[in-house]
């Protein structure tokens, strides 16, 4: 194929373009490609964490990983946690955004207060919630017993399914403000005449929500679900600090398993293999999700 000859000016422009994107490409290689490649490389070795010494084992790490029951339990926990906390975040988030979008006199105050859980450091938040959930001194048990709902203190973090429900709720509390802010920003850009036209066309409040608000929120919800799913799937500190993965491994997700392999069991190669598999799973989900949401749009 004979490419048309470039003029000197065009060549100068493309050179400038290359120079301008070069730093980005270099940084991208340094911070994304290099760690990724070295993690995959590391996962092919058996490495003792304290000395970082070890030998080539090929795909042996992956074989024992897929054969171990702990991997499958952790994966299942991870999916339950992600789906549960994400669903609650979106539900609370959209609901709260709709409430704040109304003309409430305390709206600006409420808007800043709503961000509070998102800003609080996870360590602080977890400490507070652990006290709330504490089976002996916790306020939750105290209140529930005073109200006569329960006769005996409930162990919220040490038994199943209580522990999973507790971390899902705390995760929803901590991260729903993100959904509120994103949805609220979008709500404010929906043109008012759309709602007025719908009122004239005979749509009641519920029909207006489903026929106008929800379709208009679709695109922002796709982005929110995508981002929050990635972040929730790899959530470490909140779960680690709340339950440490317990009771036994009932709330242990893949990030906690990676940590355990690397620093408790001192098997760095194995930890790298878990991390690579985790990334592959997220990738598959993301591709499927993006495909499906694309298809539904014209």
């Amino acid at each position: 194929m004979a490419a048309p000859r470039q003029t000197a000016l065009e060549r100068q422009y493309s050179l400038l373009g290359l120079m301008l994107i070069a730093p980005t490409v270099l940084v991208f290689c340094a911070v994304i490609v290099y760690p990724l490649v070295s993690a995959i490389y590391l996962s092919l070795f058996s490495v003792f964490t304290p000395t970082l010494q070890g030998g080539w084992v090929g795909l042996e790490n992956y074989r024992s990983l897929l054969g171990s029951g702990e991997f499958w339990v952790s994966l299942r926990n991870n999916l339950v946690w992600t789906a549960g906390t994400l669903a609650l975040q979106v539900l609370f988030g959209v609901g709260m955004a709709l409430v704040l979008h109304q003309n409430l006199w305390f709206r600006s105050l409420a808007r800043s207060l709503i961000l509070f859980p998102y800003f609080v450091s996870t360590v602080v938040a977890v400490l507070v919630w652990k006290w709330v959930f504490n089976d002996l001194y916790g306020i939750l048990n105290h209140v529930m017993m005073a109200a006569g709902i329960i006769d005996w203190p409930v162990d919220y973090l040490g038994t199943m399914p209580n522990a999973m429900i507790s971390i899902i709720l705390v995760g929803a509390w901590k991260y729903f403000p993100f959904v509120v802010i994103a949805v609220l920003a979008r709500l404010q850009t929906i043109p008012e005449p759309l709602y007025e036209a719908a009122r004239i066309d005979g749509a009641g409040p519920v029909a207006r929500f489903f026929d106008i608000t929800l379709p208009q929120l679709r695109e922002v919800l796709v982005v929110i679900v995508l981002l929050r799913a990635i972040w929730d799937f790899k959530e470490f500190d909140l779960i680690y600090l709340m339950t440490g993965g317990g009771p036994v491994i009932a709330t242990q997700t893949l990030p906690l398993l990676v940590y355990k392999e690397a620093f408790a069991l001192n098997r760095m190669g194995m930890a790298a293999a878990y991390a690579v598999v985790m990334m592959a799973i997220m990738l598959v989900f993301m591709v499927l999700y993006i495909r499906r949401t694309r298809e539904r749009r014209p």
């Binding site: 043109p191 005449p193 759309l194 007025e196 036209a197 719908a198 009122r199 004239i200 066309d201 005979g202 749509a203 029909a207 026929d211 106008i212 379709p215 208009q216 679709r218 014209p298």
Partner: protein, 374 residues
């Protein structure tokens, strides 16, 4: 019986009074324009009729029924918004079918009705597209289609043509008139464009500062403006308005201003001499011969005619007139001119000073035009 009626309607937002003391009765099948400058309360009036805003006082009736407390969906109206307000995620067909769907019209009945409207508006090939894949004119048609499909009693249109280019606007004007003729429904049309109001309406309601200035057929509004505001607002180039004095002359009433004394036609009974305003349309100036002398300020040749601005005498009033093309005039030069005194309008002082002319002969034009109405 009037199809749409406003009785002493007032709308205030805090201290801002958008509409005040509005009395308006629109007959069934009439095409009425609400005309006025930006901010005069046209949209507010229409929105109160639609049920999107609520009057602070007064009553609104549609078909003899008081609708103040009825939600928009139960008023038997349809509205076309200035921004069209098409549902962006629905196809053209779904947009048009939406009002039917929300009123519980069965699915099987919706299809034929949408098809009928689509054919009337030539939307057939576009039915599967989404609003963002349409041009402005096509979106406009879809908005019309969504209003038409329900066959409502009253159509409300808020500056529906203002987002179109000039050529398309002319075309859509003709189409709307044709549509109105075919449907025979009451239409209330908001516009700030006097050309639209003059060419399309049966009657024009002219609003200013939230108050109704005149409600009359286009010819009457032009020939016998009810007050000084209407006189200056209607007509391009606008009417010459000269402040001066009304006095008793040797042969009847005379209007006097610096450099000008003009015998004027019969005045309304009870008119007293004193400060007044003379209004003279540009076509009532004639150039070339006449008792007056003016200095040419500006000549705009439009091809078939010329718009000429002159000042009378030394520092006298500035007048704009039209004259057939071909008059050789030089800016800065002198020209003789005559004013058609009997055609002049006279108004009381003040920005909305009332008309002082006797109701005829120009009033006869208004009466004849009004007689044409249903």
């Amino acid at each position: 019986m009037a199809d749409v009626e406003f009785r002493k309607v007032r709308k205030a937002w805090g201290a801002v009074v958008a509409v005040d003391d509005l009395d308006l009765a629109i007959e069934a099948g009439e095409f009425v324009s609400l005309l006025g400058p930006s901010g005069c309360g046209k949209t507010t009036t229409l929105r109160m009729l639609a049920g999107l805003d609520f009057p602070s006082a007064g009553e609104i009736l549609i078909g003899g029924r008081r609708v103040n407390d009825l939600p928009p969906a139960q008023r038997d109206i349809a509205m076309v918004f200035q921004s069209y307000a098409l549902y962006p995620h629905m196809t053209v067909a779904e947009n048009i079918a939406y009002p039917l769907k929300k009123r519980g019209v069965p699915r099987g009945e919706r299809g034929p009705r949408v098809a009928k409207v689509a054919e009337m508006l030539q939307l057939g090939p576009l039915l599967d597209r989404r609003p963002r894949q349409l041009s402005g004119g096509q979106q406009q048609r879809v908005a019309l289609g969504r209003a038409l499909v329900r066959d409502p009693r009253v159509f409300l249109l808020d500056e529906p043509l203002s987002n179109l280019d000039a050529k398309l606007r002319g075309h859509m004007r003709a189409e709307l008139v044709e549509l109105h003729r075919r449907l025979g429904r009451t239409m209330v049309y908001v516009t700030h464009d006097q050309l639209e109001a003059m060419t399309m309406s049966d009657r024009i309601a002219i609003l200013e500062g939230g108050r109704l200035q005149q409600f009359a057929p286009p010819q009457a509004v032009y020939a016998a403006p009810a007050n000084r505001f209407v006189a200056g607002f209607i007509g391009t180039p606008s009417m010459n308005l000269i402040d001066g004095e009304l006095a008793a002359g040797p042969a009847g009433p005379e209007f006097r201003a610096p450099g000008l004394a003009l015998a004027v036609g019969p005045l309304a009974a009870g008119t007293q001499p004193g400060p007044a305003c003379l209004g003279l349309r540009p076509e009532h100036l004639s150039f070339g011969t006449g008792p007056l002398a003016g200095t040419v300020q500006l000549v705009e040749e439009t091809g078939h005619e010329a718009i000429i601005a002159v000042t009378l005498g030394e520092g006298g009033p500035r007048l704009v007139g039209r004259s057939p093309a071909g008059l050789a005039l030089r800016v800065g030069g002198q020209v003789r001119l005559a004013l058609n005194g009997p055609a002049a309008h006279l108004f009381a002082p003040g920005p909305t000073g009332r008309r002082l002319n006797a109701p005829s002969p120009s009033g006869a034009v208004a009466a004849a035009a009004a007689g044409d109405q249903p």
